[in-house]
Symmetry: C2
Subunit: 339 residues, 2 copies
């Protein structure tokens, strides 16, 4: 039995869509949400499922509890779920950096599950981190990343379903010459962009940038990698893009990198220089693969020692729901117990 906590949110709905793709039976699914959303129904494979209110008693008989309702809910209910015997796969940032909590991208560091003898909480990494590392980790294994400079082009979906709706709403307002609806973003988002709307710490980095830096260290198991990032929201609905500049320990040519990426699971190389076709967020939307292109030797570094890349990945799928489901599937494979 799987519980989805935050079933009515953007990630919750995507979790349901992916479970349906995988033919997970409706009767082995429990949908949970706040009192505000409880009582509504969601259609799952033709069946109307009632969304129940999240309570301390919600987790009896739940094998896997997938949390996608924000940090507050994870902080308050994850340990309750584990005490009830559930394994929590948490999409929030609350537990990610905790020792003993595996932070997992299955294609990259699935062994982190084995390192903890009985993990009760497994953290799903930040979307920008997952999408960047799908391309970076395979190169790291071969050439060793010494430094990363990342600039993101992040979609509205990272701000939740309401931010996506506001971006679309602004297109209608614009066309209808109405004052733009600004209740979520507080600004014109259509035809504009803005620095990621997470809190800035005293170093001047925002929380999204620090997540990308710290989670990369944990997932790659190497705190010595020098990383800086600038995280920006662009008026795109649900796929993140990132320009990534890499410095290597050992030389790696663009051709070698391309070969490695072509063979990497969950990665699709889109790098047609002649046709000028490279990853675009719309092409990544709804898909499972992270698209990688603009693979080229960085001419600002000694030959072979640096590379530039451009990646796009669906923020709600590989950046969140798909990665969480893949973790659940790995747990199932390992424990050989049906969920």
């Amino acid at each position: 039995m799987i519980a989805i906590v935050g079933a009515t949110g953007a990630v919750g709905r995507e979790l349901l869509a992916i479970l349906a793709d995988r033919n997970h039976p409706a009767e082995r699914l429990k949908l949970l949400a706040s009192a505000r959303s409880a009582g509504s129904t969601l259609v799952y494979e033709g069946t109307s499922l009632l969304v129940k209110e999240l309570k301390a008693s919600s987790f009896a008989g739940i094998k896997i509890a997938m949390f996608a309702a924000g940090s507050e809910v994870s902080r308050n209910f994850a340990s309750i779920a584990t005490i009830a015997g559930s394994t929590v796969i948490d999409n929030s940032s609350v537990f990610r950096m905790d020792e003993g909590v595996p932070l997992v991208v299955p294609e990259i560091n699935i062994t982190a599950l084995d390192d903890c003898s009985h993990p009760t909480i497994i953290a799903n990494p930040n979307c920008s981190t997952i999408i960047a590392l799908m391309a970076v980790a395979p190169l790291h294994r071969v050439a060793g990343i010494r430094r990363m400079v990342v600039s993101t082009y992040q979609a509205a979906s990272g701000g939740g379903a309401a931010m996506m709706e506001e971006l679309k709403r602004q297109a209608f307002d614009y066309v209808e010459s109405k004052p733009l609806t600004k209740s979520i973003t507080g600004r014109q988002y259509l035809f504009n962009l803005f620095s990621h709307d997470s809190a800035i710490d005293e170093s001047g980095y925002n929380a999204e940038e620090m997540k990308l830096i710290r989670e990369t260290h944990k997932i790659l198991g190497d705190d010595s990698i020098a990383i800086t990032a600038t995280c920006v929201r662009v008026p795109v609905l649900r796929a993140h893009s990132e320009a990534i500049n890499l410095t290597f320990e050992r030389p790696l040519s663009a051709d070698e990198a391309r070969e490695i990426l072509c063979a990497a699971p969950g990665v699709k190389v889109v790098d047609d220089r002649k046709a000028n076709r490279f990853p675009e967020p719309l092409d990544a939307t709804g898909g499972d693969d992270v698209l990688v292109g603009r693979i080229r030797a960085d001419i600002s570094q000694p030959p072979g020692m640096g590379l530039d890349l451009f990646v796009c990945g669906d923020q709600l799928r590989k950046g969140a729901a798909l990665n969480a489901i893949q973790i659940a599937e790995q747990l199932f494979t390992r424990t050989k117990t049906p969920v």
Copy 2:
């Protein structure tokens, strides 16, 4: 007498708007365009001005010819204009890297005008280059830039008025549930982004990126600066944004950088960490200043040796027309002859 070659284009119209702001008299203005646009009229300070067809004979009596009609026209007509005695201020990339052609951002390297005894063609740099260097050059003077990693978020205006129109048109098509108009960009641009649509060379860099690299070397007078760039078009109408990562020769703190930038002409620091307010392209739109923010010490480099910045500038103004007009004003000041 000033001639505007390409008066009906996006940059041409902006040149007219800025000349009007500066009260340049309508009778000292000649508007030129291709045969296709010739015969139309443009309103300038309440006067209807006829757009004449660009011909070899167009430049008699023209003191300054401002070219904003693309590379082909500059290639074919700039030398004709200089032979007729005009000084050409060229917005295309044709002459930018030619020895003896000053490539000028007035706030940065106005002395380049003096280095050439009688420049007949003065090149206006690429928009992304101007906007980046407005923030970078003042820091370079103090700390010496050793390396730059730039990721751009470029507006539709760089692709011309037709690309801006297509982006707006797509918003209407989207709202009206019509198939999207794709004749200029060949794709959905609304809610999407794509690698800059300029030709890719065999190194894998596109022409826009190489312009940014080479023009920076020429303007800063230092070919040893290591530069890499990833240029991307985002669905924004007319202001470019850039995430810039710098490595210095000599230490410079974020506070020192902020002070330098606060004092730099043509630059406005927008860097409110508490309110999470930083440069946004819409706030740069229609203005003369390049906005600079997210000024922070890069934690991936030794203390003081690196900085991250985010800049926005109006592509049509400081990125093109305003810079060209400022060059013309400097010429006027130097020669003390009225235009």
